[in-house]
């Protein structure tokens, strides 16, 4: 009733009764693309409001209150303001690379966003190698950031880009390793398969090592979005704004949109691999049948968004609570703490799956 699958199949039937097959497919592809872009922008708007409000509450302020009730229209006002701003051209820089960089950042962000599974039947990309695809495509952002920093022809952007490159390349390792730990537990790389494997119990409650993997993934994912305490690439007080300082108007806005949606994507992937994605919370016991039934009545997309926004809240909490790390502390944390732990954790998870689970089964 509350699921979106019905609407989707209704659209499909209506289209295929009216058009030949190739036109139906074409229209559907275009619709899916437009739908994804709309959702992408919508989530960015929601996150901008959320960030401003939550940040304000952590600092004992009210945040935006004027535009609409409780400041709800503030992100729309921000959006129109930034859309109307002038894009200031730079005099001596490589224009082609300058705009390609922005394109790459948005493309990497959008392609990763497409791999999320929003509900039982709202799935964009579902490859056999899903987790690997996510790891591969999310590395496009690094390239964009490096090019942006260089092509702005400014020493602050260059330092910011170099820091971002070092940070993203390092933290990709431990986030990748913790995702692979879950692949070992789930026995598949397909994201829908991983979610299917959590239909009775979420991975979080299937093994103690999932907790370690989740904590490492959340730290590394948080670092990959370049947000505090890992916001060295765009440290305002040192580098004014880091790699996107020379971008103006909507080009600057798009960098921010990409960053905000990346935060949501990281939370969404964390939701899918640790917290069961769109799967309702179930207690795997006889006496809990009624409870499970009630949980099943909540629509699956609501489950997904609730969990993902829960993780986003965690990320905001961390952002506004910790001071910024120095570059050596940042690299020390990744290479000497997180990565050894995640390698060991992966080994332990393999032992858990191959030795311990068959022992007690």
């Amino acid at each position: 009733m509350l699921e979106v699958g019905g609407i989707l199949s209704w659209i499909h039937e209506a289209l295929s009764s009216a058009c030949p097959e190739w036109l139906t497919l074409l229209i559907e592809y275009v619709l899916i693309g437009v739908g994804f872009l709309a959702l992408y922008a919508l989530i960015a708007l929601i996150l901008i409001l959320l960030e401003r409000k939550i940040c304000a509450y952590y600092q004992c302020r009210l945040g935006p209150m004027r535009a609409g009730f409780w400041g709800l229209l503030q992100p729309l006002a921000d959006m129109f303001k930034i859309l109307m701003k002038e894009i200031i051209p730079l005099l001596k820089n490589d224009k082609f690379l300058f705009f390609t960089a922005l394109f790459l950042v948005i493309m990497g962000s959008l392609c990763t966003f497409g791999a999320l599974e929003f509900s039982k039947d709202l799935i964009g990309i579902d490859f056999n190698v899903g987790v690997f695809y996510v790891l591969a495509i999310s590395s496009l952002g690094v390239l964009g950031i490096l090019l942006a920093g260089w092509s702005s022809n400014n020493k602050y952007t260059m330092i910011g880009a170099m820091r971002a490159g070092a940070q993203l390349v390092s933290y990709e390792l431990s986030s990748g390793l913790s995702l692979l730990t879950i692949v070992i537990l789930g026995g598949t790389m397909q994201l829908s398969g991983l979610i299917e494997a959590q239909s009775e119990t979420w991975f979080l409650f299937q093994s103690p090592f999932t907790w370690i993997a989740m904590v490492i993934y959340l730290i590394a994912g948080h670092a990959e979005t370049n947000r505090g305490p890992f916001d060295l690439p765009e440290a305002e007080s040192e580098l004014t704004a880091g790699y996107h300082i020379e971008y103006s108007g909507i080009t600057f806005g798009l960098f921010y949109v990409g960053e905000y949606v990346n935060m949501f994507t990281i939370a969404g992937i964390g939701t899918m691999v640790f917290l069961g994605g769109w799967q309702p919370f179930h207690i795997n016991a006889e006496w809990a049948a009624g409870f499970n039934g009630v949980m099943d009545m909540i629509p699956t997309w609501l489950w997904f968004f609730a969990k993902a926004f829960g993780l986003v809240m965690l990320s905001l909490w961390v952002r506004w609570s910790f001071p910024r790390l120095r570059i050596d502390q940042l690299l020390h944390l990744e290479w000497k703490i997180l990565m050894p732990i995640s390698l060991l954790n992966m080994l332990l998870m393999a032992l858990w799956v191959t030795v311990l689970v068959p022992l007690f089964a």
């Binding site: 190739w22 190698v129 790891l135 591969a136 590395s139 496009l140 090019l147 260089w150 490159g165 397909q190």
Partner: protein
């Protein structure tokens, strides 16, 4: 050559798959050419990135998702980022590179022509196999099969090669750490 050209069914060329293939090939060819022809190093690297990305797209049209992801993560994500890091260490990056002498240009042009002619001769001698059977074989290659093949010790399985490569990689990691470590006296 003429026999090869007449054997192509031009009317059947414009299926959805083929149109996607043509677009991707156009991107590969144009960006590949631009990456060689561009006089600015970083631009050349960016064009190379688009070429590699479009090749990943080609693998996807063949539903070789694993190879596409490998292409993205190894070439587009790994090697190209490394390349750009290396390029950024170069002096006078913004200016054009040196112009190439005519002798070199002529030799390069001739070898490119020879390669093209060689490819056409090969194509006209040995036909492509029909795509239906190939697609079936491709559809069956999933992660599990790749893993079993890499980790098995049976015939057509590659555990020894896999381990040899991992030891090589380990040696590279240790070597790079040794090179990067500053000695105390410095």
């Amino acid at each position: 050559m003429a026999e090869y050209l007449t054997s192509i069914d031009f009317a059947g060329l414009f299926t959805a798959d083929n149109i996607v293939f043509f677009i991707l090939s156009a991107v590969i060819l144009v960006c590949g050419f631009m990456s060689v022809a561009s006089t600015k190093l970083l631009r050349a690297a960016t064009y190379l990135f688009f070429t590699l990305f479009a090749v990943a797209g080609l693998y996807l049209t063949l539903s070789y998702e694993f190879i596409a992801a490998v292409q993205l993560s190894v070439y587009a994500g790994g090697i190209l980022v490394l390349l750009i890091f290396a390029i950024m260490l170069v002096k006078n990056l913004g200016t054009d590179t040196e112009t190439i002498s005519y002798v070199n240009k002529t030799i390069a042009g001739l070898s490119a022509l020879a390669g093209t002619v060689f490819a056409f001769i090969t194509m006209s001698k040995f036909r492509f196999i029909s795509s239906e059977g190939a697609n079936d074989a491709a559809a069956k290659v999933d992660m599990e099969m790749v893993g079993q093949t890499l980790m098995g010790t049976d015939r057509y399985q590659y555990l020894l090669a896999f381990e040899a490569v991992s030891i090589l990689l380990l040696a590279c990691i240790v070597g790079s750490i040794v090179i990067a470590t500053k000695s105390k006296e410095d």
